[in-house]
């Protein structure tokens, strides 16, 4: 039995069903579709005629439209990638500068327009070097611009003019006389000067000084010998504290007496020293404006040559006073550390023979202050273990 015969019944059934299925094509539908097609054809031909009549002014763009878009887009992408790559290469790790940026922001937000005065706390220091200058803590309250700075220590007035920083050998620093902060600076670019430590010229009343600690006779306890000296922190007040007060600017909310009272109360609450005395100092600021020169720097500008191994500086200060360089420049900074350069630096005060610098240390959360001082034509460096907390030197 072949397939035809085998399926004959089912195929015949289909044929019968088809014969039964008399589907009459609706002539109205046929005509409607026909008219619709004619209309569509005329539409196509009309469009074609219009297209033929018009010059193909857009033929070039139609032919090259993809290239016209793709080529500029590729170039733009390439430029963006190159630009991003170059920027990435110069980007400083955020954590390196977090402390600096925060500190700069704090300074910038607070004391930009304030005038300038100093409260100096002259400390007696018992450093061995007799030529060492006395150190005073000068707390910046306000700043009169472009005025000579006069400091009265034990009825002796010292006037200092804050001169412009010489640029020789410090090409990487940016000297700025204006109070405005560059907007694009991400690093230490604040011009606000709040607090800094300052070393005054050595006075006869305090020849002994030291950087961090002073030796003094310890108070004698019952049953103990009073001859054995002990070390104490130098910042602790003496038994008869005398407060040195810088003149207070008019914009300062506190009066000089209030500040004196505050300082006196604070110092009286601490344990008095036995041997050293602290004198009060008033920094008298003249009427005329004092030009205060500041240098703020950016890490990548200063330390372009810094190698990767030196990116995380660790500072080892050999002495409180170190002969380092004949002039204040980068070599001086290199010498303050035995391992590497500081991560960033801001110069807050400069004179012919003094430069007050704030340096950010990678390992430390607080900003450190350093005073470079030229003594006998030799630059020395002293470090203050002060921390800036809430814009106040502590």
């Amino acid at each position: 039995m072949n397939d035809k015969h085998y399926f004959s019944d089912i195929t015949e059934l289909f044929l019968r069903a088809k014969k039964e299925e008399q589907i009459e094509v609706n002539p109205q539908i046929k005509n409607a579709v026909r008219e619709m097609l004619k209309y569509k054809i005329s539409e196509i031909k009309g469009t074609k005629n219009i297209a033929q009549d018009k010059p193909d002014i857009f033929g070039f763009f139609r032919k090259w439209r993809y290239q016209l878009v793709a080529v500029p887009a590729s170039l733009a992408t390439l430029i963006i990638v190159v630009f991003a790559a170059s920027n990435l290469r110069l980007t400083i790790p955020k954590e390196d500068l977090a402390t600096d940026i925060q500190q700069a922001d704090k300074i910038a937000q607070t004391e930009i327009d304030k005038s300038y005065s100093l409260i100096a706390d002259l400390e007696a220091e018992d450093e061995i070097d007799p030529t060492e200058t006395d150190r005073a803590l000068l707390q910046t309250v306000s700043k009169p611009d472009n005025k000579p700075l006069s400091i009265n220590v034990n009825d002796k007035t010292t006037t200092r003019t804050l001169n412009k920083i010489p640029q020789t050998g410090r090409e990487n620093y940016i000297a700025d006389n204006t109070p405005d902060v560059p907007d694009s600076k991400e690093l230490l670019s604040s011009e606000a000067i709040l607090d800094f430590d300052f070393i005054l010229p050595k006075t006869e009343s305090a020849e002994k000084s030291s950087d961090d600690v002073v030796e003094k006779p310890q108070e004698t306890l019952p049953g103990e010998s009073s001859d054995e000296p002990t070390k104490e922190v130098a910042d602790e007040p003496t038994s008869e504290p005398e407060t040195y007060i810088a003149s207070i600017d008019e914009e300062d909310t506190r009066s000089a007496e209030e500040i004196v009272a505050d300082e006196a109360v604070q110092e009286e609450a601490t344990e008095p020293k036995a041997e050293f005395t602290t004198s009060s100092m008033i920094a008298v600021l003249p009427e005329e404006e004092q030009t205060l020169k500041r240098i703020y720097t950016e890490k990548e500008q200063i330390f372009v040559k810094q190698t990767r191994e030196e990116s995380y500086p660790v500072y080892y200060f050999r002495n409180s006073s170190v002969d380092i360089a004949p002039k204040f420049d980068e070599s001086l900074l290199k010498n303050i550390s035995e391992k590497s350069l500081p991560s960033s630096m801001t110069v807050y005060y400069t004179d012919d023979d003094k430069v007050l610098v704030e340096m950010a240390l990678k390992e430390d959360s607080a900003t450190k202050w350093y005073l470079f001082e030229k003594v006998n034509d030799t630059w020395t460096i002293q470090k203050y273990e002060k921390e800036i907390v809430n814009d106040v030197v502590k």
């Binding site: 289909f14 589907i23 097609l37």
Partner: protein
Amino acid sequence: MPDYPELEQEKRLIESAKKDPDKFIALYDKYVDQIYRYVYRRTSGDKNMTHDLVSQTFLDALSHIKKFQWRGYPFSSWLYKIAHNNVIKWYREVGKIKSVPLEEARQVSNNEQTQKQQLESKMAGEQIRKILSKLDREEREILRLKFFEELSNVEIADIMGLSVSNVGVKVFRTLKKAKGFLPSKKELKKLD
């Protein structure tokens, strides 16, 4: 499948329609009845939907006739393919599938048919409806194209996107499966 001279004539007509859209009307007139019936069956006799689908089928053909490539098949194969896709799209959109259009498509109007013939045709249509309802969708479509549209396996393969040999196998298996649904001779005798 149409003979060779007819295919040559159709080929020339298609080529002229590509250049002059007015020639497409001739192709429409030639195949509109076939496509109409095919769509009518597939839509279960829904006249409105048949109208829409036939219009859409020929509109698509007119719009894309320049892309038509002659492969030796009748132009109707291409039209069936377009109609087939449109119907499937319509089913997807409507969400209903009426697998058996024969019952609603029945329009017995031939007065010359005898009552016996009408009865036989009616019984045949009823049987086919029952058989088709037991087949799956692809099998139904193959049998429709094969027996109602009287298309060759080559045309069916082109419309459904299958190979020709695969269509032959499917036709054979579907007929064998449909034959199994037919009543046996004993049952037919009982019916008589």
